[in-house]
Structures are given as C-alpha cells and as structure tokens.
C-alpha cells in the first residue's frame, strides 16, 4: 500500500475537522441566538414549588394551583415543599450569574423535526430526524474536537499499518509470525463510521433513530476492538463487547416496546405535519405536559394501555409501565456505558489500537450510554433514578478498587473509565443532571488525553506493562507532563472554593449533589461516602500509574534506552487536549471566578436541562426524594462536599506518593499483608469467573445437550429418511429410466434398423437389375406425366 494509503487518513481527518468547524459554527450561532445562560430555570430559582408560577405571583395563588393539581390529576410525583426561605436566599446569593437570564421563558429551547421517514406502517413511524438543544450543540463540539485530535494522533500512531505488518503476537502453525498487509485505510474508515454513528445518536430526533445509531456504534466498536483480528485475544474481546452489548439492547428493545405500545410515538419532541404544527405530542410532552408545569405524571396513553391489559388499578399499572420503559432504556445504557453488571467488556476492549481506546472511552461508545440517560432524563421516574444511582455507585467503587491492582497501563485507564462512568450515572441518578453531563464532557477531554498519553508511552517502549517502565519522564517530557495534567484533572485537583482543573468542577458538583441527596434520603446516605471514597481511590491509582511510568529509575534498561518522545503529529493533540482538560469547565467571568456555576459550559448545559427536572420530586413506589440540583449549590453543602472531595483526593495522592515516589511504604509488603484482598482485586472481583460459571458454562452445557440432541435424534432421523428416500428413488428412478426413456430410444433404434434392413433388399449390386429399375422408373414417370398430371 505504501504512502498512498495516507490518503485515507487525510480524508477521514479532514472530514472530522470539517465536522468540528461546522459544530463550532453551530455553537456560535446558538450562543448568538440564545445566549450562554440558561433562560428557563425560574422553576428552580424558587425551588420547592413544583408548580411553575411567575415569581410575581402571590403565595396564595401558588398554593391554590398546587392544591388543584394535587386533587385533580392525582400526580404520581408529589412536589416537595422544602425550606423555601433559606433556599431562595442562598440561591439568589450564589446564583446571580444564572438568574440573570431567568424568567424570560419557561420552556427549554429545542428544535426538532423529521427529515425522512424510513418506515411508515400505520401509526408506526420510524423517522430520521433531529432534536437539537444546547446539550446537542455542546456534545457535537466535544465529540468532533476530541475525534479530530484522535484522528491526528492516529495518523502518527498507526503509521506502521502503511506498510506490510508482521504481527509478533500471532504465531502461525508453522511457527512463523503472521505477515499481513497494512490496514491503515481500513482503520480510518472504521473511525469515520464510528464518529458518524456517535453524532447520529447525539442529533437523533427520536428514540428509534437513536437505537439505529446505537447499534451502528456497537458494530463499529466491534470492528475496531477486533482490529488485530488475527490475535485470539482481540477477536474474543470484540465478540465479548458485542455480545454483552446485545444483552443490554434486549432491555432497550423492551423499553422501546413499552413506549411504543403505550404512547404511540418514538419522537422526543413530537411529530410535526407539513406545516410545522405538532400533530402528535412527543415523549417528553406526554410524560411531562406543559400545562402541568412539566411535572412527571403517568401519561394517559400508559393508563389506557393498562386498562386494555385489564389492570385493576390503571394508574398504578400505567406507572409501572413507565418504570419498565425507563428501566429498559437504562438497560441499554448499562450495556453501552459498561455499568455493573455488564461492565466486563470494557477492560477487554483494550485489545484495540490505543486511538480506538481513546475514542471508545471518551467521546463515543461509552459516552453514548450516559448521553442517552441524560437525553431521556425527563422520562425516568424517581424509582428508576434511584436504581441508576445504585448501579452507578456500585460501578464506580468496584472499578476503582480493581484499578488499584492492574499493571497494564491501558487497563488501569479502562477501569478508571468504568469508575468515572459510574460517577456520571450516579450523578444522574441522584438528580444531578448538569453534574452528570458536565462530568461526561470534562471526562471525555481528560480521558482521551490520558489514553493518548498512554498510547504515546506504549509507542515508545512497546509494552503495556507498567512494571517494565519507570523514569520515562526524562525521555518523553511532553507526554509525561500532559499526562500529569490529565491525572490531576481526573482526581479533581484544585484549590477548594477557588479554582481547579476541569475535573474539580464536575466532581465537586457530583459530590455536592450526592450529599444533598443523602441529606434528603437518609437511607441512601451511604452512597455519598462510597463516592467520596471512590475519589480517594481514583487519586491513588492514577498517581500510582503516573509514578510507576514516569518517575523513579528505569526497571528495564533496554526498553528505557529505546524510548523516545513521540512525533509532533502525536504530541500536538496531547497539548490541545491538555489545554481543554485544564480550562474547559472554568468560569470565564473574572468577577464571579470562584463560582463554579458561572462557567460557560455549565451555563450552556443548564440551558439544555430537560423541562421540569429542576425541582424536587419524590417517587410513588419507593420512598425516595429527588432533590433539585440547585439545592446542591447551597453554600453549606457545596463547601462540605468540596472539602471532603479535596481531602479524599489529597489522601489518595499522598498515599500514592508514599508508596511509589518516596518509597516510604513498600508496595510488595502491603500486597502480602492484604493478600486475600489483593487476589480478589487482581481477579477483578472474580466477575469473569462468576459469569463463566453462571452463564457461559450452563450455556455451553445446554449447547452440548442441544448438539447431542441434534446429532442423536434429528440427524439420525434425517439420515434414515435420506437412506429410505435414496433407496426408493433409486428403484423408482431406474424403473422410469429403463421403461420410458430407454424404451423409447430403443424402440426408435429398432424400427430404424428394420427399415434399413428392408430397404437394403433393393440394393442387390446387380447392374442389370439397376438398369431395369431405370427403365421401369422412366416408364412410370412417362405414364405419370401422360395420365396422372394432365388432369
């Protein structure tokens, strides 16, 4: 292929760069039209009141509206009257920045329509459409920017694929290493499709279209994880990722069926006719009607469906249907975002090339799941949100502990991704929509940075094992210090209450909301401590990674000697991402610099907040109260959470320093001291073994039984049937052949032979006889001419 293959890289990179430029233009247009600040959380400003009342409205009016609503529609969500006075005060104080644009409009700005109808069967319409709000715009910029960096980086990282490649990890049966053609062009082809699919999910105007692109993302990850398909581990990992995702997708399809069966539409915003009027309200409008102040209620369609199903209590069954729909959609997100218990595929996905890992772990694939939870947020009931929070909490803790013992540099990062995804889900689950989305975006930047740094290291030393590295800081300073920035960002480093890296803002927001949630739901308070503990562990394993790789003396001299800084095309994206990892979430307003909510990114996200989610609401089935997110900005809560976060991160960091830098504590001794725990963590909580025992083996056993049945019964039957048929047909066939076909041919031959025999009697060979024949013939012709033809 040679250098001509570079064209593929240029085309793909150019395309994604163009995408980024266009996204940036779209963002500028958006800000130009709608401003940066959120325009609609007046509902939040006077929190506690679920009903939207204009701020000027009198107290009595408000309570009256509240009462009528409670009586008339029997809402499933009980608005919780919190301590109004205090809240409002602290709010006004702390949120001058985003109450400026408040009260102007009550509805989130969103543009939606359909472009093209794929399938139209009766009422079922599956369309390709768009739903654009501030979240979409922000996500587009983030995805295209990171993907552009990764594409540039990949042009350097994948250069080996330009020529023929000898894969030293694959040994053929003749003992030689596999020699194959380079797949540079194929790599970029998949990357482009991957980015396209992810952008498709983000822009999707209905949940069915989301599902289509969802599966496209799945297949792209399958291709890319299995890029080195000849390696057994890579093809197994690709299969694992694909199959585990299918498990989640089953749930998603159930959710889709529940939605379609009861609400009759897939559209987020609503189906429009040719004139642009909404002819069918969308999912969000049906679940959170505008006239009810966007409060969650069981939609009529679900109650009707419950009645059709013959439920005794339609309201209750309808609500269950809504829960099922929410859980189903979340199930898909669990698979795609690798949450417990479907997290097993993500660490194995490290088999792909490092740029793929960077893309999968930051901007695409796993982000898709979190994004969908965020997009679908208005549909989740508090019960579902609680489950989301629990799952997220388990994931973040479990993955963080596993990351402590991993020695493969990419695996550490993979488990850290799992852990951070857990944080996002957890944040969304405890009611922190903006916190979750903010963490999604900041995490995308620093995690892609970290992965690309690790790729740079792997590129230099040709191994993934951290115990073989060490001291690389002196050889590759740019990589080392950009990675340090990434590590600091991921642990949420910053000066409390003043300023910090991007992770500082998002992690503080999450912990603050978790604390807020814990204060309102004492039973679930433990989740806050788990999350805070997770932050300490995060700091520990990230700096363990950094110290083991870059600090100290080289552990393997020859690898150290061969190490070198990466080419410019590889470190330039690192620098760009490092810049964003520092500044992306920082407030732009100098006067309001210490207020995290003053950050333009936060304000943009606030603008995209789903209608009606900015208030407290509690569940009908479970005793859970979702506190509104603005409550967490309360000075007391925020300060407490911020201090705890800082303290935990610092303790984790110090522990890592003690063990791997100053060497005050010998890691080997600690390992032997906690040997059972170490083994438990080293084996990843024995999840793979557990799944092997409870799913894979029974499946294989069942498969063997089925195969035995197949061979023993079905094949036997078929075989004998075949024997009988063959016996019958051979006899019948012979009879037909011999009687009719051969018979006819023989008959014709026999007759021809007879005629020949008869005719040869004339041919006597006697000359004189022939003369007589001539004579007779002549006379006959004469007579014929004279008498026969004259008439």
């Amino acid at each position: 292929m040679g250098a001509s293959g570079r064209g593929a890289g240029y085309v793909a990179t150019g395309a994604i760069l163009g995408g980024f430029v266009l996204s940036l233009a779209a963002m500028i247009c958006w800000i130009d039209a709608h401003g940066v600040t959120a325009g609609h959380h007046s509902d939040a400003a006077d929190s506690g009141h679920a009903v939207l009342v204009p701020p000027e409205a009198s107290e009595t009016e408000a309570s009256k509206t509240l009462e009528t609503r409670l009586v008339s529609s029997a809402p499933i969500v009980r608005p919780v009257a919190a301590a109004d006075g205090e809240h409002a005060e602290s709010h006004d104080g702390g949120h001058g920045a985003h109450s400026q644009g408040a009260h102007t409009t009550t509805t989130k700005v969103a543009y939606f329509d359909d472009w093209y109808t794929l399938v139209g069967l009766g009422n079922l319409k599956i369309t390709i459409g768009y739903y654009i709000d501030a979240l979409t715009v922000v996500m587009f910029c983030m995805i295209t920017l990171i993907a552009t960096c990764i594409h540039f980086y990949a042009m350097g990282y994948m250069h080996e694929e330009l020529e023929d490649v000898t894969d030293h990890e694959v040994t053929l049966s003749n003992g030689e290493h596999l020699h194959r053609k380079g797949r540079y062009y194929r790599f970029f082809q998949y990357m482009s499709l991957f980015c396209f699919s992810m952008l498709g999910i983000v822009i999707a105007g209905n949940i069915a279209m989301t599902f289509i692109f969802w599966e496209l993302v799945g297949i792209c990850s399958y291709f890319l994880i299995g890029f080195y398909i000849e390696r057994k581990s890579a093809s197994t990992a690709a299969n694992k990722a694909f199959i585990v995702n299918r498990v989640g997708d089953v749930g998603m399809i159930i959710g889709l069926m529940a939605l379609w069966g009861s609400l009759g539409t897939f559209s987020f915003g609503g189906e429009k006719n040719g004139a642009g009027e909404i002819v069918k309200p969308g999912l969000f409008e049906q679940v959170r009607p505008e006239e009810e102040g966007y409060q969650l209620q069981t939609p009529e369609g679900m109650e009707k469906r419950a009645k059709v199903m013959g439920a005794e209590d339609p309201a209750y069954t309808g609500h269950l249907l809504l829960v099922v729909a929410g859980l189903g959609i979340f199930c898909g997100c669990v698979g795609k975002s690798a949450q417990f218990p479907l997290h097993v595929w993500l660490p194995d996905a490290m088999e792909g090339p490092t740029p793929v890992s960077a893309l999968v772990h930051s901007a695409t694939m796993v982000a898709a799941g979190v994004f969908l939870v965020g997009r679908f947020y208005p549909m989740f009931t508090p019960e579902v949100l609680l489950i989301i929070a629990i799952i997220g909490c388990i994931t973040l803790f479990m993955a963080a502990t596993i990351a402590i013992t991993a020695t493969d540099i990419k695996r550490v990062l993979a488990y850290s991704t799992l852990s951070q995804l857990g944080y996002m889900m957890f944040a969304l689950g405890v009611g922190g929509w903006v916190a979750g989305m903010l963490h999604l975006i900041t995490h995308a930047f620093f995690k892609s940075l970290l992965f690309m740094c690790s790729g740079s290291v792997i590129h230099a030393v040709h191994t993934n094992e951290m115990p073989q590295m060490g001291g690389l800081r002196r050889k590759m300073p740019i990589t080392a210090y950009t990675m340090l920035i990434g590590c600091l960002a991921i642990i949420g480093a910053g000066v409390p209450t003043i300023v910090g890296l991007s992770g500082y803002y998002s992690k503080d927001a999450i912990l603050a909301q978790a604390l807020h949630f814990g204060k309102n739901n004492a039973a679930w308070n433990v989740m806050f401590y788990v999350a805070a503990g997770g932050a300490a562990i995060t700091a520990f394993y990230m700096f363990r990674l950094w110290f083991m790789t870059f600090v100290g003396s080289p552990r393997e001299q020859h690898r150290y000697d061969h190490a070198h800084e990466s080419p410019r095309v590889m470190w330039m994206p690192l620098a760009v991402l490092a810049f964003f990892a520092i500044f992306i979430a920082m407030p732009a307003d100098i006067e309001n610099f210490t207020n995290p909510a003053a950050s333009p990114l936060v304000q943009m996200l606030e603008q995209g907040r789903p209608d009606g989610t900015g208030v407290d609401f509690s569940g009908q089935l479970a005793a859970v109260m979702m506190p509104n997110e603005h409550g967490s900005h309360d000075e007391e809560i925020h300060l407490t959470a911020g201090m705890i976060a800082f303290g935990t991160a610092l303790s984790g960091l110090l522990l890592a320093c003690c063990m791997y830098w100053w060497r005050l504590i010998n890691p080997a001794e600690v390992r032997s001291m906690f040997a059972p725990i170490y083994r438990f963590l080293l084996n990843k909580w024995w999840f793979d073994e557990l799944y092997d025992k409870i799913f894979i083996r029974p499946t294989l056993w069942f498969g063997r039984c089925a195969a035995g049945f197949d061979r023993g019964c079905i094949d036997w039957l078929i075989d004998h049937l075949a024997v009988v048929t063959r016996w019958f047909t051979s006899g019948f066939d012979r009879w037909i052949d011999q009687t009719f076909v051969d018979g006819l041919a023989n008959w014709i031959a026999r007759k021809t032979y007879r005629v020949g025999l008869w005719l040869r009697k004339v041919q006597t060979g006697r000359l004189r006889q022939y003369v007589v024949f001539i004579l007779v013939g002549t006379v006959a012709m004469y007579l014929l001419a004279t008498f026969g033809l004259t008439k």
Binding site: L759, R760, V762, Q763, T764, G765, R766, L767, R768, V771, V772, I774, L775
Partner: protein, 133 residues
C-alpha cells in the same frame, strides 16, 4: 397419329392404306424420333440383358446416340420450320457435348472393366456385386 395407327391395325382394311400413307410421306421429324426411340430402347435392352461388361458399354453408347439423334433432330432448321419450336444450334452443341462425354465415360468405364478383369479374370457384371447394400 399413334391412335390413328391403332385404328389402322384394328380396321384391317384401312391398315394397309395408312401404312402406305405413313411411308410415302417425306422424311420428317417423326422419322428421326422413331429411329432415336428404337436406338434408345435397343440400348436399354442391351444394357439390361448383356452380362458382358463390354456389351453393357455398347448399350450405353446406343442409348446416348439415340438421345443425340433426338437433339440433332430438334435442332434442325429443316425439320422444324417454326423457329419458336426449334432448338437451333443448341441441339447440335448439346449432341457434341454428349459425344465428348461418351468418349470420356467410355475411357473410364473401359479402365474399370480392365481392372475388374485383372482382379476377377472375367468381365461378367453379375460378378461385380461387392458394393451391394
């Protein structure tokens, strides 16, 4: 004319008279044709009856010459006055062709007969039936 002749034979009285009429006519086409027909028939009978190959060849010559005579007669401007019915020079040329043909044919046939004689020591055509079907 033929039917008249039959009448002549049936009616004994007019038989002699008609014969005399016929013979007393000047030599015309009919006479030629009669001579030609006699030669043709004689040739045919010769071919059919002779066992000697040379006899058969002679019969062939007779047949050909009988036909030649007809051609010449039809080509004659004296015998057929009406130009619309006469062959003219064509008849004479055809007869010339036939003569040449007969010569060539005789040469080949005599060669065959000679070879046949060499192989079988006879010229009996009845012995030459090896090519029968």
């Amino acid at each position: 004319m033929f039917l008249e002749a039959v009448d002549v034979f049936e009616k004994k009285d007019s038989k002699r008279k008609a014969m005399i009429d016929f013979l007393s006519q000047p030599v015309g086409l009919t006479h030629y044709l009669i001579v030609g027909a006699v030669m043709f028939v004689a040739g045919l009978v010769c071919m059919a009856t002779k066992r000697n190959a040379l006899g058969v060849l002679m019969g062939i010559e007779l047949v050909l010459n009988g036909a030649n005579l007809n051609f010449v007669a039809f080509g004659s401007g004296f015998l057929i006055r009406n130009p619309a019915y006469q062959l003219g020079l064509d008849g004479q040329i055809i007869s010339l062709f036939v003569i040449v043909l007969a010569a060539a044919e005789a040469a080949i046939a005599l060669a065959i007969v000679l070879n046949f004689y060499n192989n079988h020591s006879t010229v009996d055509v009845d012995r030459a039936d090896e090519l029968k079907g």
